[in-house]
Subunit: 201 residues, 2 copies
């Protein structure tokens, strides 16, 4: 209560937002309350500006969602492209893809978190889900090739291996928060995913 | 539209629900629309009965949530108790716990799905989150003991290993749907988690 009058006085002098900062705060809010549960009114209140000031930057809530999930998806697809160019066996390309995906996830944590919670109620969400499925297909194909080349266990369906692999990667959004001086989490995930948690003698 | 009049005519003759069937349909609805996004009115509409008919079975929406998440948590804690009683090394108890947890997840899929989406806005949710943390602690302690016994890789923080392990297990809610004649999914998860996806020569 006591801060409200001050907020009102300072609003005029508040430096303007750019699209990037509107987007970041929108994504934070979507992750807290759900995309459906957040209105442009809520976002305006959080930013301390009017709704029409938001519409100056972006035409709709759906467009904010599209920008956000594309930020995550474009990162993942860029890594998939780089992985294709890795010289060597499919298993090496797969390991590159896993490490790179962890990197994207850590760098773009709020965006990937939003992406992974998308349910498919709107056109933007359905299109994001379609791109996710395309990414899953790329992973499953790499796993299948690595099986053929004798590097990945052949006793599990490649699609299931791919899903469990990325189930582990994606679970990072639930608990991982980057801290300085951390062990490289991509390294940890790759070790456990490829070689398991059991110690071999 | 065309089915509405019929639904209205048959309501009277509809066999009564018991608490169990009300709970199952509530959980389905919570998973579809989110707990916050589902009202008792929505549930009444889905069941084709009045709100007061629901209150005959259960005092509140929060109580439905409590029953649902406890169904998941009680299953997981029962497996943790059984795991403790497994004769042998910590790594064997851990493997028992992983396989058993997959079993609970598959058997009680909608309940575990709801549990894993709980965010902590109400007393019931906060209490469920506290029990989840307690379960995570049990897993991390088992991992730590197995490291001390030389069976689990010592180069990763036991809490991180525990989280990645259950990140993989919990990811099943996103895609796994039990089908008759399936390979034992608990077996697949245990193989990949403990021994990795890489084939050893």
């Amino acid at each position: 209560m006591s801060t409200a009058p001050q907020a009102r006085t300072t609003r005029r002098g508040r430096p303007g937002y750019d699209l990037e900062s509107v987007l970041r705060i929108a994504v934070k809010l979507f992750n807290e309350r759900g995309y459906d549960g957040t209105s442009m009114e809520d976002l305006a209140r959080r930013l301390g500006i009017t709704k029409s000031a938001i519409y100056h930057h972006v035409p709709s809530k759906q467009e904010l969602l599209r920008l956000a999930v594309d930020r995550a998806l474009d990162g993942l697809f860029a890594v998939a492209e780089e992985a294709k160019a890795v010289d060597g066996r499919a298993v090496e390309q797969l390991e590159f893809l896993v490490r790179g995906s962890v990197g994207v996830l850590v760098e773009r944590l709020p965006f990937v978190t939003l992406l992974l919670r998308v349910r498919g109620n709107t056109k933007v969400e359905r299109s994001a889900l379609a791109r996710r499925r395309e990414f899953d297909r790329i992973v499953a194909e790499l796993v299948a090739r690595a099986e053929t080349e004798g590097d990945i266990r052949p006793d599990v369906d490649p699609a299931v291996t791919a899903r469990l692999l990325f189930g582990m990667v994606n679970s990072l959004i639930e608990w991982y928060r980057p801290r300085k001086g951390d062990t490289d989490i991509a390294d940890v995930v790759a070790k456990i995913a490829f070689d398991g948690i059991r110690l071999r003698s």
